[in-house]
């Protein structure tokens, strides 16, 4: 159970991730839980599929842990990200950060989710009522409909 940075294709227990970081020196645990949202910009999601380059993704999660340790030496971090098919309200990611005092737990947790969205090789495919797309950026404004890239996506 000491797998602090983990990609899994199974249900994530929030409690398991939290328990990895609770310890006598900490008084605060901040947890970020990403769940599958039904509507994005008015479009209804039916389900998602997450793909990952698993060994590299786990390395990059661990790197985020190291970055946090450098910025907040008293923090302890655990991150689990799920892949495969996920339905509405399913948990995709759980980040838990413990620190002695609360302010750092918020800041380090926020840092972790922002870095995940920048450097961890995981990809989300949205399945909508009228089609499907790999989502290509974190504002979720750019989608890549399978096999039909728009010219502006290629060269813009």
């Amino acid at each position: 159970m000491n797998n602090y940075f983990r990609i899994t294709d199974e249900f994530i227990s929030v409690e398991d991730v939290v328990n990895m970081v609770v310890r006598p020196e900490s008084g605060a645990v901040n947890t970020f839980i990403g769940t599958v949202r039904e509507f994005t910009k008015g479009k209804r999601t039916l389900y998602l599929h997450y793909d990952a380059y698993v060994p590299m993704a786990e390395k990059k999660l661990a790197q985020i842990g190291d970055e946090i340790q450098t910025k907040w030496p008293d923090a302890r971090v655990a991150i689990t990200h799920r892949i495969g098919e996920l339905h509405i309200s399913d948990i995709a990611v759980v980040i838990a950060v413990s620190t002695p005092h609360r302010a750092d737990s918020y800041d380090a947790s926020r840092y972790a989710i922002e870095r995940i969205k920048e450097i961890v090789p995981i990809w989300k495919k949205e399945h909508w009522e009228d089609g499907e797309s790999w989502i290509g950026d974190q504002l979720e404004t750019k989608a890549y409909p399978t096999g039909k890239p728009e010219e502006e996506d290629l060269y813009g």
Partner: protein
Amino acid sequence: MVKVLLFAQFQEAAGRESVEIDAAGHPISHVKSVLKENYGILELDDANVAVNEEYTNMSTELKDGDTVAFIPPVSGG
């Protein structure tokens, strides 16, 4: 030989998870050209690349046995 890993939309465009390319001694940009021309992967300009699970850039020269991954814009979290 160099192993090239394909994910997400690249995997779907090529219809396969990986290809082997005789690219030792060449920069990654060479592999990119091969993927565009021979495997129909067109959206490569937005991609990042990794060699042996670490990010690098298109000019990195490949060695025999390297694993190259083309990383589409990520969307985890």
